[in-house]
């Protein structure tokens, strides 16, 4: 139980650092003066001090929705697979609940975009709706594949099964599912081939456009939510698709887990530096690749025999 709480707190604490890490790594690679790893925390404390300005045109939704953007993601953190084998965990939750909670958060985010009567907000919501609608089938199929490979639909049990007795014969479908999930990690978190989190250019922005009219505390909530969403996907990837290191004793296992998270962040940063952002209407091609890989994973799994 203690280990569970420690992991939970650690994940929340590390979430802003991880996104700042990607940012500073990108800056180093672009020969810029890197931002501090604690830039995320600085932003949060800055936003906490500011007053909130609420749009005159917006309704009660703007005052409630930011909380509902963050809280489903915080709840999702509770259900993540264990990172240490001694740690207790919630074993009954399956991946549909997790994707559902993430969609719930996105639903309210899209409502915020439409609430302020600004063109940018609607633009962001519309694009987000488009991307997340196409990401949903890829997500469900990938989960279907990995839970078949791990022989359990519960997400924590699946990760335990994978790390204890990894099914070598299904390596191919495992890798296909991994590729698909990594594309989803990029798409759902609005990383570069799909959305550029750093610009406010109206031609390209998706996530930033929806929250353009939020300020102060509300903006802080949504910013925290997006870093927590990243850490959810990163730790799902770390536990399901890098199934090792969990069997060591507590501090070492935790350390390995954190290294895995930073490794994922490094890969994301490298992709962001090397890849150009796709046009909005090219994004379905990328998601299509994810869907095809998920199908491939399932089909190879069935052909090689359950």
């Amino acid at each position: 139980m203690n280990l569970y709480i420690v992991t939970l707190i650690l994940l929340i604490v590390i979430a802003p650092i991880l996104t700042s890490f990607i940012k500073s790594l990108k800056m180093i690679l672009l020969f810029k003066q890197p931002a501090s790893l604690f830039q995320g925390y600085r932003n949060i404390s800055k936003l906490l001090k500011k007053e909130t300005i609420v749009s005159h045109e917006s309704s009660q939704i703007t005052r409630v929705a930011p909380f509902l953007v963050l809280s489903p993601l915080l709840i999702t953190l509770l259900f993540l697979p264990p990172v240490m084998h001694e740690s207790s965990y919630i074993n009954f939750v399956d991946a549909f609940t997790i994707t559902g909670l993430i969609s719930l958060s996105t639903f309210f985010l899209m409502l915020i975009g439409l609430d302020s009567a600004s063109g940018f907000g609607g633009m962001g919501s519309s694009r987000e709706a488009f991307i997340s609608a196409l990401a949903e089938p890829a997500m469900v199929l990938t989960i279907f594949a990995i839970s078949m490979i791990a022989n359990n639909l519960g997400i924590s049990e699946a990760s335990k099964n994978l790390s204890h007795n990894f099914p070598q014969e299904h390596m191919a479908s495992f890798i296909f599912a991994g590729i698909s999930f990594f594309i989803l990690l990029l798409a759902e978190n609005g990383r570069i081939p799909v959305d550029n989190p750093e610009t406010h250019l109206e031609l390209t922005m998706v996530h930033e456009a929806m929250i353009l009219d939020l300020t102060g505390f509300y903006l802080m909530l949504v910013e925290v939510a997006s870093s927590i969403k990243f850490i959810i996907f990163a730790s799902l990837f770390a536990s399901l698709f890098m199934p090792f290191g969990i069997e060591f004793s507590a501090p070492l296992a935790l350390l390995i887990f954190i290294i895995k998270l930073f490794l994922i962040a490094t890969i994301v940063a490298l992709i962001e530096v090397n890849v150009a952002k796709l046009r909005l209407f090219k994004v379905p091609d990328l998601l299509g690749i994810a869907i095809v890989f998920a199908f491939l994973s399932l089909i190879t799994f069935y052909i090689l025999g359950a």
Partner: protein, 627 residues
């Protein structure tokens, strides 16, 4: 005469849940209906016929109530028959529903040997001796699915539902479509029982296609009630996916999984009844206050109609299958039953099921997009038209109806075990083993999948956590005592106005562009250009119209075909006399050749030879030389 087993009582319960809030709403709506008596008589007869259909114990009574249901709902659509579109929609509905009726009549005549007063058990004996049960299955499916609105018999829904008065749309979409599914349950189990594997696959495929088609056309729709009607097609598709999975599992002798899928399907029937009725009531209230169905003219209604807005939000979250609502729970069950397909031994069948999973998941994603659009454009932002500017909340009775219906939605979410118990009893009455203890093995807080590798979900924990975390975050915000200032939205230096906002067409723009190969929409751009410069224009008008693919390809083309045939028949009557003898000659050849094929063994070489002989004689003798 009447039947009161648990299946019937379950559906009676569903009808009551659907109609009681509707009664309040209906009486609130009544002052705005001109032909009050006409409306009331048909309204109550409609409810009575719904109850009659699910309790009748023989074919005659069933058909009587079924027809009564069709006719009263047809008259209810015509309550406010002011425009041609209403009468056209009613005509279309009348036509489609009677195609279904004829098909049902054929089914009953075949399966009762003509004695329509026979009980369902006796029908089972006749059917088990019937040589071609698939024909019966097809008649049955056409009959019920044309009423339920499954693809390709769904085309009447987006016309008929918007034209009916809103309480009637809520009843038709929420309850009447489900009564058709009751028919599927009743007659597939009681009459046609040992199913073939193909039937389940047919239902699964129809369900998958319906769910995708429904949600895609809902996205491109600007009429709020037509949008909801298209969503009914989607949800019927989801119900049929569960039903089809149940049939497939049953044919493969996986009893528990099959019961689980059927329970998921009934659960979704209840859920769709609750949230779709609520959505139609909400849409009706909005329509009632703004006097327009065009979603592009709404906006900002949450400020003037808070009760409608909140209940509509609840229903939107639920229909988008977001946790922890009831819509999520039933969709979760359907997903779980599809994921249990690894127990199937049949490899090729196993590989088909991921495609159904894909269809259902894409449907879920698009449904979220669609309801963000419907909710955001209707209730959020600024009013887009004068209609939406000076309005107020609807009257007390209508509000009561909506609140009662949202209580039904909430109860389906909170008391899931209780409802599952009822559905389990219904399945027991159809001769399945009870699986309630397998779904809730550790008390009522956790719902389990019955598959060996299944997971579980617990709506109450989720809801409690969600409320707890949200409230503690809000308290933190209150404790911080942040200063709050209200200011206009920044509109890049222009005055903030409704013109800055995204429209519904704009919102669905990326999706409709991506699916343009399906929509093949007609775009009208109207620009007033200054000084012949294409890039500079004073005013512009942009409209997109999407005509449903099925209607265009299937229905209009069959009309064209019928026209061509009738023209040809007309030509036939005006042939020269020599050609008649040529035709008789050809007919004789045809009969002889077909006789040979049916009697002797089939042989491709002679078949081709005969075909070419037929073709040549047809070409030379009948068509002749072109002038």
């Amino acid at each position: 005469m009447f039947l009161y087993d648990s299946l019937s009582l379950t559906f009676v319960f569903m009808i009551l849940l659907g109609t009681i809030p509707n009664l309040f709403y209906s009486f609130g709506y009544l002052p705005h209906i001109k032909r009050k008596w006409h409306y009331l008589v048909h309204y109550f007869a409609f409810i009575l016929s719904l109850l009659g259909v699910v309790t009748s114990a023989n074919a005659m009574l069933f058909l009587f109530f079924w027809e009564l249901m069709s006719l009263t709902s047809w008259q209810l659509i015509l309550t406010e028959a002011k425009t041609k579109s209403t009468t056209d929609a009613a005509k279309f509905y009348f036509f489609m529903t009677h195609i279904g009726f004829i098909s049902l009549l054929l089914f009953f005549l075949l399966s009762t040997n003509g004695n329509l007063w026979m009980s369902f058990e006796d029908m089972h004996d006749i059917v088990s001796n019937f040589a071609y049960p698939t024909i019966l299955f097809l008649f049955l499916s056409i009959g019920f699915l044309s009423k339920a609105g499954a693809v390709p018999l769904h085309v009447w829904l987006p016309y008929a539902h918007p034209e009916a008065p809103s309480p009637v749309s809520a009843l038709m979409s929420g309850v009447m479509l489900k009564v058709a599914i009751y028919g599927m349950f009743r007659f597939l189990f009681d009459v046609l029982y040992p199913w073939q594997l193909e039937w389940g696959i047919i239902i699964l495929v129809i369900g998958s296609i319906s769910s995708l088609v429904g949600v895609l056309y809902a996205l491109s729709e600007h009429d709020i009630k037509a949008l909801l009607a298209n969503h009914s097609i989607e949800n019927i598709g989801i119900i049929l996916i569960g039903f089809g999975m149940g049939m497939i599992f049953d044919s493969l002798k996986l009893e528990t999984l099959s019961s689980f899928a059927f329970i998921a399907s009934i659960f979704h029937i209840f859920n769709h009844m609750s949230f779709k009725s609520l959505l139609f009531m909400g849409a009706g209230s909005v329509l009632h206050q703004t006097h327009t169905k065009n979603i592009e003219k709404y906006g900002g209604l949450i400020k003037s109609m808070p009760v409608t807005a909140i209940t509509f939000l609840l229903a939107s979250i639920s229909i988008s299958a977001l946790p922890p609502t009831n819509g999520f729970l039933s969709e979760w069950m359907i997903f779980q039953s599809m994921l249990s397909s690894s127990n199937i031994e049949h490899t090729s069948l196993k590989m088909v099921i991921p495609f159904a999973v894909f269809a259902l998941a894409l449907t879920g994603g698009l449904a979220i997009a669609c309801f963000v659009k419907a909710y955001g454009i209707t209730f959020l932002g600024l009013h887009r038209d004068e209609n939406a500017k000076h309005i107020e909340e609807v009257n007390f009775l209508m509000k009561t109806g909506m609140i009662l219906m949202s209580l039904v939605v909430i109860s389906l979410m909170l008391f899931t075990p209780f409802y599952i118990k009822i559905f389990d009893l219904a399945m027991v009455s159809l001769g399945k083993a009870s699986i309630y203890a397998l779904i809730f093995p550790n008390g009522i807080f956790q719902m389990h999948s019955v598959s060996s590798i299944g997971a579980s979900v617990s709506p109450i924990y989720l809801l409690a956590l969600l409320i707890g975390v949200t409230i503690s975050l809000m308290l933190a915000y209150k404790m911080l005592n942040v200063k709050e200032r209200v200011h206009h939205t920044w509109a890049c230096g222009y005055q903030t106005s409704c013109k800055n906002q995204y429209s519904a067409t704009g919102f669905a723009g990326p999706i409709s562009r991506f699916f343009d190969w399906l929509y093949k929409s007609e775009k009208h751009i109207d620009k007033k250009i200054i000084g012949s410069h294409e890039t500079k224009f004073t005013t512009a008008h942009y409209e997109v119209h999407t005509k449903p693919l099925f209607e265009k390809s299937l229905y209009e083309n069959s009309t064209k075909l019928a026209n061509k045939i009738s023209y040809w028949v007309y030509r036939l009557a005006h042939f020269e006399q020599t050609k008649y003898s040529a035709m008789i000659f050809n007919l004789m050849l045809f009969v002889l050749f077909s006789y040979r094929i049916s009697v002797n063994e089939f042989n491709w070489a002679t078949f081709l030879l005969e075909l070419s002989v037929m073709f040549i004689s047809f070409k030379i003798l009948i068509l002749g030389v072109k002038k």
